[in-house]
C-alpha cells in the first residue's frame, strides 16, 4: 500500500484499487511455452479477467455485493472487488439460503456503489476467497508446493541431514566452496552483461586465486585476501533490463520461481562448465550431479526451513515471502533503495520512509 493510499478513506481506497485492478490482462499462456526460452512469452503477465461492477446496491441488512453476472435465482453470487491495499481481489460466494441479518457497520467496503460487509461473510458462513494479483496461479502453486514439500520431508531433508551428520563442517564447507567456484563463469557472464566491471574483476580474481591457491576451489582463499564472493544470474540481468518477472509460480523439483527466473535458469546452464563437461555423459550421471547440487543447497538451510515449517501459520506464504525478498535483495545487490515516494521498496524497507508507528 502506498503512502498516498493510506491517507484515503476506506471507500476511496477501494474505488482507487478497483480502478487499478480493472485493467484487462492478457490471457494466460501454457506453462510449457513459459518454460521454454522465449523471453517475451515467459515474461507475459497473467491475471484474472476483471470486469466492472454496474449492479445497483441491494438494500437491507446482510448486504452482499453483486456483480453483473449474478443470477439471484441460482442462489449464488460472485463479486470481484479489491481490499484496501489493492493487491487482492475478493470473490464472495453466497450459498443458499438467504443472506445473514448482519447489520451495517463501519467495516463495509463500497465498490462502485455496491456495499460488502467485511465481517458479514465470516459471520454468515460465506466463503471468501482472495486472489492475490501477484500470485494468480495460487491454487495450482499450492498443490505443487505441498507435493514438493511432501517429497522434501520424506526424501530430500533426511538425505541432507545424513549428509550433515556424516561429513564434518569443514568438509561440507569445502564442497560448497568447490561448487561455488564452478559457478564463477555464470557470475562473470552476468557481471559483464550488467556492466558491473568491478564486480567482474572480483569474480575473475576469485576464480583464479581459488582455483590455484585454493586447491581447485576447495578453499576460499580469495575471501581471506579481501575478495568477497557474490552471485549473479540471468534473472537478475533481465530484471536490470526492465523485464517484468511475471507471476509467482512453484515449479516441480525447482521450487519457487517466476517465468523470468525460469528463463534465467535455462540461460545460466549454458554458462555453467558442468553443462559442457557432462554433455556426453549418460542421463543418470547428469541427474546425479543435479541431485548432489540440490542436497548441498538443501543442507545449507536445514534448520531455517525446519524452524519455518514448524512455526508458520501459512508455510506456503512464508516461503513465498522468503523467495520474493531474497530475489529483490539479489537484484539490488543487497543494497537498500529509496522508494522516492513510490511506496515500499526492497521487501518493504526504504531508507527515506518513516515507519508508521500508528498501526
Amino acid at each position: 500500500m502506498t503512502r498516498q493510499d493510506s491517507r484515503r478513506g476506506p471507500g476511496a481506497r477501494l474505488r482507487h484499487a478497483w480502478a487499478r485492478a480493472s485493467r484487462r490482462r492478457p490471457a494466460a499462456r501454457p506453462l510449457l511455452v513459459i518454460a521454454t526460452v522465449v523471453p517475451l512469452a515467459a515474461c507475459s503477465s497473467l491475471g484474472p479477467e476483471l470486469g466492472s461492477l454496474d449492479a445497483a446496491p441491494m438494500a437491507g441488512p446482510g448486504l452482499v455485493a453483486l456483480a453483473p453476472s449474478i443470477d439471484p435465482a441460482a442462489g449464488t453470487s460472485e463479486l470481484v472487488g479489491a481490499d484496501s491495499d489493492g493487491a487482492r481481489i475478493a470473490q464472495l460466494y453466497r450459498p443458499p439460503p438467504p443472506p445473514s441479518t448482519a447489520a451495517l457497520d463501519d467495516d463495509r467496503m463500497t465498490i462502485q456503489g455496491v456495499a460488502v460487509y467485511e465481517d458479514a461473510p465470516a459471520a454468515a458462513g460465506y466463503d471468501v476467497t482472495y486472489v492475490d494479483q501477484g500470485d494468480p496461479l495460487e491454487d495450482f502453486n499450492r498443490r505443487v508446493f505441498w507435493a514438493s514439500n511432501a517429497i522434501d520431508e520424506v526424501v530430500i531433508e533426511p538425505v541432507a541431514r545424513t549428509y550433515r551428520h556424516l561429513f564434518p563442517h569443514h568438509a561440507r564447507v569445502a564442497v560448497r566452496n568447490f561448487a561455488s567456484n564452478l559457478e564463477s563463469p555464470v557470475t562473470l557472464a552476468n557481471d559483464l552483461m550488467q556492466g558491473e566491471w568491478e564486480r567482474a574483476h572480483v569474480t575473475v580474481s576469485r576464480f583464479v586465486i581459488n582455483s590455484t591457491i585454493g586447491f581447485a576451489g576447495l578453499h576460499d582463499a580469495a575471501a581471506e585476501m579481501g575478495y568477497e564472493g557474490h552471485r549473479e544470474d540471468f534473472d537478475q540481468t533481465l530484471a536490470l533490463y526492465g523485464w517484468h518477472s511475471g507471476p509467482y509460480m512453484v515449479v516441480p523439483l525447482i521450487g519457487p520461481s517466476t517465468p523470468r527466473h525460469l528463463v534465467g535458469r535455462v540461460v545460466d546452464t549454458l554458462f555453467h562448465p558442468l553443462t559442457w563437461i557432462l554433455a556426453g555423459e549418460p542421463t543418470a550421471v547428469v541427474l546425479a550431479e543435479r541431485a548432489a547440487q540440490g542436497i548441498i543447497a538443501r543442507e545449507e538451510v536445514l534448520d531455517t526451513i525446519a524452524a519455518t515449517r514448524a512455526t508458520s501459520a501459512d508455510y506456503y506464504a512464508a516461503i513465498q515471502s522468503f523467495y520474493r525478498q531474497n530475489r529483490t535483495s539479489e537484484i539490488n545487490n543487497g543494497e537498500l533503495v529509496n522508494s522516492g515516494g513510490q511506496g515500499h521498496a526492497g521487501g518493504g524497507v526504504a531508507l527515506d520512509e518513516d515507519l508508521d508507528f500508528n498501526f
Binding site: 484496501s84 581471506e224 514448524a310 515471502s321 521487501g347 524497507v349
Partner: protein, 204 residues
C-alpha cells in the same frame, strides 16, 4: 519587569531540567549491535549447551533487545485493530517464539565454527531520527564472510531496540507480515484464527 525576568528564568530552568533526552545516534546504534551481536554469537557457538538450551538463551537475548510489541503490530498490519485487546499479550508471546525460533534456526545453519557478527556502517532511516539501519556481516573466524546481516533499530521511547533483522536479504518481521496477512485473509479475516494456528504449531 523584575517579576517577568524571574518568571522567565524559572521557566528556562524548568525547561532545561525537563529537556527531552538526546536523540540517538548512529554511534549508539553501532555499539548496540556490537554488544547484542557478541551475545548472540557466543550463545549459538556454545557447545556446552544442548540445542534447546541455546535456543532458550537466544530467545532471552531476543526478548531483552527487541521491541516485540511494535514488531507485533507491524506484523499484523491492517488486522491489528481487529485483534481484541485481551489477546495482545498472548499474540506478542507467540510472535516472539515464532521469530526467535526462525532467527535461531538461520544462525544455527552457520554454526560449526567460530564466527563473529561485525558491523560495517549505519544509515539513519526516515526523517525523525529514531530509526537506524546497521549493516553487518557474519564472518568466519579465519576470515571471509558467511552472510550479510542487517539490523533495523528503532528508538520511539528513547531506548534502542531491534525492530527487524535481515539475514541474507530476508527481513523476518516483513516475512511474518506477508504470512499473517495471507492467513487472516483466507480465514474469515479474523486475527484470532491466526493465534489458534500459531498455538497449534508451537505446541506440536
Amino acid at each position: 519587569m523584575p517579576k517577568l525576568v524571574f518568571a522567565l528564568t524559572v521557566f528556562a530552568g524548568l525547561s532545561l531540567g525537563l529537556a527531552a533526552p538526546a536523540a540517538a545516534s548512529c554511534n549508539e546504534a553501532l555499539q548496540f549491535v556490537s554488544a547484542v551481536g557478541n551475545q548472540v554469537t557466543d550463545t549459538v557457538a556454545d557447545t556446552s549447551l544442548t540445542a534447546e538450551q541455546r535456543l532458550t538463551k537466544f530467545r532471552a537475548i531476543f526478548r531483552q533487545n527487541a521491541d516485540i510489541p511494535t514488531m507485533g503490530r507491524f506484523a499484523l498490519g491492517k488486522h491489528w485493530s481487529k485483534l481484541p485487546p485481551d489477546l495482545h499479550k498472548e499474540y506478542f508471546s507467540l510472535l516472539e517464539q515464532t521469530i526467535g525460533r526462525v532467527m535461531f534456526g538461520q544462525l544455527n545453519d552457520y554454526a560449526g565454527e567460530q564466527y563473529s557478527i561485525e558491523t560495517d556502517k549505519c544509515n539513519p532511516k526516515g526523517s525523525k531520527g529514531i530509526e537506524f539501519i546497521v549493516d553487518g556481516t557474519v564472518n568466519k573466524a579465519g576470515g571471509g564472510k558467511v552472510t550479510d546481516v542487517r539490523w533495523w533499530l528503532i528508538t520511539p521511547s528513547g531506548a534502542m531496540r531491534v525492530f527487524d533483522v535481515s539475514i541474507a536479504g530476508i527481513w523476518l518481521s516483513q516475512q511474518k507480515r506477508d504470512e499473517f496477512d495471507r492467513y487472516i485473509m483466507t480465514h474469515g479475516m479474523r486475527p484470532e484464527t491466526l493465534l489458534d494456528s500459531l498455538k497449534n504449531k508451537l505446541g506440536s
